[in-house]
Symmetry: C2
Subunit: 195 residues, 2 copies
């Protein structure tokens, strides 16, 4: 998606350790007009596949997921990273290792919000090693729901997550795939769009 790639080139910052900072528009400060265009793009890419629920994971996927959900006219559910007092025991749980934080945490979703009638599109802001996305896919499976596919804003193509998800046969659409980036020059090379 050219709009997103242009924005990453303009405002993204390449940092040590393969970190791409896009927190001025994607995951700390958020540009909801951009999210709207991303929502429309995901709608185009998954049109006609019967999506009736969006599943994301807190926190930075929520804004994008809401835009996508509004385009599809379906609810969005965000999986939670810890068990809160407000959620009773009736949840699906998977363990996910965080690339950003270097920790393992539980990801849960209440059973009442994910079930066998659901055709689920996963949405997240980043795909790196794929642990979070794999965890969401496992939640869909545990719920007996159908996984339609996964929509990602930025995929780090030089990490293994995208290939791993595609090898599982999951329909993955990433709006910007970074082939390489250079922390010294700040240069970012994108993979060519398939479309």
């Amino acid at each position: 998606m050219q709009l997103l790639k242009d924005r990453i080139r303009r405002d993204g910052k390449v940092r040590e350790g393969n970190v791409l900072k896009v927190d001025s528009f994607l995951n700390h400060q958020m540009d909801t007009a951009l999210f709207r265009e991303m929502g429309r793009e995901f709608k185009r890419r998954f049109e006609g596949e019967g999506v009736n629920k969006i599943l994301t994971i807190e926190a930075s996927g929520i804004g994008i997921a809401c835009a996508v959900a509004e385009e599809f006219g379906v609810p969005v559910v965000f999986a939670k990273k810890t068990k809160t007092k407000n959620i009773a025991g009736d949840v699906y749980t998977v363990k996910v290792e965080s690339f950003t934080h270097g920790t393992v945490y539980d990801v849960i979703v209440a059973k009442e919000f994910l079930g066998s009638g659901d055709k689920v599109l996963l949405i997240d802001d980043f795909l790196a090693n794929g642990n979070a996305l794999e965890g969401l896919a496992e939640l869909v499976q545990a719920a007996g729901a159908e996984l339609v596919g996964a929509g990602i804003a930025i995929e780090k193509g030089f990490q293994s997550g995208g290939d791993m998800i595609r090898r599982k046969g999951i329909h993955l659409e990433s709006l910007a795939i970074i082939e390489s980036m250079d922390e010294k020059t700040g240069e970012i090379v994108f993979r060519e769009d398939q479309k």
Copy 2:
């Protein structure tokens, strides 16, 4: 806001310990069409006050805040509850006690996204004891930004947060104020709309 009150009456569940579960449409599963209407309502209530930034706190405030931000055509920043590897030291920090989790945590916002030129509207899903909202107001103050007001989806009028925030002279607009609720009968009584 009648639409929200009707939805709370229909789908909200009163639980022991003054817990109101609205996770089927507000803070686990999210109804983005409802969020859109809430965004429009907050726009009406804070129209003409020069809002140029929305500030919320992860995670359940993000969806509503994005809808509000899109209505105003301004960016939204979500304050984060822990320090991540992706954020350098250049942050404002406050400590907040969580009613839901019974813990104290740091809330941070990067200095580059909140500053003296900003006229900030705070948005959150719940107001109970007001700790989170007070923390956000302190972040605005620390940044030298101007606090326009605070927009809340559901205020628990029988807890002290709303009064505390209003006593500080903050323009607080809650779309539904719960006067009382009964965990045995499930009855929910709303405060009359001021508008």
